[in-house]
Symmetry: C2
Subunit: 178 residues, 2 copies
């Protein structure tokens, strides 16, 4: 097999952007897989003070995601799918943050996929009801990070890792493109 050729369903080089969108604290994480070696390229949280009008937060999220894409050139984006919202207002606010993020990454030409939160937890910790901290610690371990990432960034990194893991399994269950 050639060293840097395509491995079919498991390409030799993939850069994945995971996003966990939220109005006041959107987590993101960029994970690169090269020759099956995985490493974290970037991670962080886009924080917006509660004093800001919502529309300013949305602009900030959009700008930040555009910068991440420009700086790290991911080709694929992964967000949570089928998640839970307490009520319509929460769902609306979550939707707004998603819309601001996904508009920016889709405009840059990335394909966007959804993975259910339960599936992410299962892929990371082995069971679907794992606590946030358990996920963050497993993300830290898998990516050999010096510190446990912030919860929102950890969720985003976990999405990217799960995507790569699913790709490695030759997509027995195809991911949902959105």
């Amino acid at each position: 097999m050639p060293g840097n050729g395509s491995l079919g369903a498991h390409p030799a080089h993939t850069v994945v952007l995971g996003i966990d969108p939220s109005l006041r604290g959107t987590g993101y994480g960029v994970v690169e897989s090269r020759q099956r070696v995985i490493r974290a390229v970037a991670q962080g949280v886009v924080t917006c003070p509660t004093a800001w009008p919502r529309s300013r937060c949305l602009a900030q999220i959009s700008v930040a995601m555009r910068e991440v894409v420009r700086d790290h050139r991911p080709t694929v984006c992964v967000v949570e799918g089928l998640f839970y919202a307490q009520n319509l207002q929460t769902a609306l606010a979550m939707g707004e943050a998603r819309g601001a993020s996904l508009a920016a990454v889709a405009e840059a030409g990335l394909e966007v996929y959804e993975i259910a939160p339960r599936k992410v937890k299962q892929a990371m910790v082995g069971h679907g009801a794992a606590q946030k901290l358990a996920v963050a610690r497993m993300v830290q371990r898998r990516l050999e990070l010096a510190e446990t990432p912030a919860a929102d960034a950890a969720d985003a990194l976990a999405l990217a890792l799960t995507y790569l893991q699913e790709q490695g399994r030759y997509l027995l269950s195809p991911l949902k493109r959105v």
Copy 2:
């Protein structure tokens, strides 16, 4: 009073962008008020085929709103507030379309305000339970349009008109900035 000076709460020249965001058909309308004379500057619907992935629609909405802002230089944007959604999935999709729209207009520096749908109907037709067509016809009449605008564009124009009407009333009830 100077001819083109400021009239305090009712500025001599205002350009308002109304948006009625939705994933497959985002309506927009730009209304200009100059010396208390009101006219429609632009209107339309950003349609996205159902075959498109959602993220592509969001990018399209964002691009279209950026173009409208660039072409017509509105300084204020108005969207519906406190609306009704049938379920969480609908609220999420509506939120996504809002997020894509508002990120674009807020990034361009516009202030964004919300007006409740009931208030728009009341301002346009005189009662809060008016039918869509009645609103569209009143929008047509007030703006002296040759044709009845498409429903989604009419809703957006109605939002812009209601904003200007509220401004004219010197904001007895302040609008909610988002």
